[in-house]
Symmetry: C2
Subunit: 194 residues, 2 copies
């Protein structure tokens, strides 16, 4: 009945706020930043456009609130070193299938600079530390993390955004079978001579 902690006053409008966020994620994921209009988001949330402004200030604020996301990457210490690639790929795939926020973030990151900045932040805050613990030479961690992200984001791009038919029809297990060795290689293989 009451709020869980004193930090959350439990406003009466929380349901509306949540409905706005969910609609925003869906529209941003489907249309990207510019084409997702406040009006369309409000209509989908079944409220007035002005409410969005009242609760989130402006469109940028709404976007920031809608894509505050945690990848929940597994802890590097808990991973068997040889299974890191497979674990990462399956985790990513799972997150992406169940959570449209990631597609929204990718779509927006490509057109909006604030979105790109947020993706860079997620990269360096969440993927990079993991690479730092797994790869042989910590100095190579940024490059290796960049390679891993290029493969994982490239899959998301072709499968969920551009919708290349063969990429869409691949089974998750098949994707894992192909990508896990690649990611594992990028993380732990010795640096190939140029």
């Amino acid at each position: 009945m009451n709020e869980s902690t004193s930090a959350t006053p439990a406003r009466r409008s929380d349901a509306t706020r949540q409905a706005i966020l969910e609609a925003a994620r869906e529209r941003f994921a489907a249309d990207g930043y510019e084409r997702a209009t406040i009006r369309a988001i409000a209509q989908q949330a079944k409220i007035d456009p002005s409410m969005v402004m009242r609760y989130y200030g402006n469109k940028e604020g709404l976007f920031a609130a809608a894509v505050a996301i945690d990848l929940k990457l597994p802890d590097a210490g808990s991973l068997p070193r040889g299974e890191a690639g497979r674990a990462l790929v399956t985790h990513f795939l799972h997150q992406w299938e169940e959570n449209e926020v990631l597609t929204a973030l990718l779509r927006v990151g490509v057109t909006n600079d604030a979105g790109a900045e947020r993706m860079r932040g997620i990269f360096s805050d969440q993927l990079l530390p993991l690479a730092r613990r797994l790869c042989p030479d910590p100095e190579q961690a940024p490059a290796r993390a960049a390679l891993v992200s290029s493969q994982l984001l490239g899959l998301a791009l072709t499968r969920y955004v551009l919708c290349f038919p063969p990429a869409v029809h691949l089974h998750p297990e098949e994707i894992t079978a192909w990508l896990a060795p690649t990611v594992q290689h990028y993380l732990t293989a010795p640096h190939p001579g140029a």
Copy 2:
């Protein structure tokens, strides 16, 4: 003095038409479809916005004319089978560095459905046939081509669009050293069991 063939009447306005196309490519590459305005393109081409409409009909027509591109992929027959991965990666990297059209196409493909459709067309017209000749079982060609494009487009995404710092700073030779084996593997390795 005269036109090369009867098909091209060699209008007096060809220089302007070309200037518009170049400006359009640059703006589409930098801003994406929605944020690249006719006004900005016209200003950069140093002509009036109405000229763009006169010559290309509307914004979609301009985009279609601006990104008519040929990847100029090497012929599959001329490639030593073991070198296909390396050849593809270096070719892609080279095309992307010198030609902003590709970045424009990627940026637009993510937000605009016509752009996505064009990328799917390039995929199936240019990359898929190459995979069909290189991979062991032609029936697996679509899946293998999709995997290759996921890695190559993922690199372009992180390096040229999202601008992850480590991806930007990687040297082309280093990229090739890492990605060539991956692409080669996707094209020619036996299908890994799920």
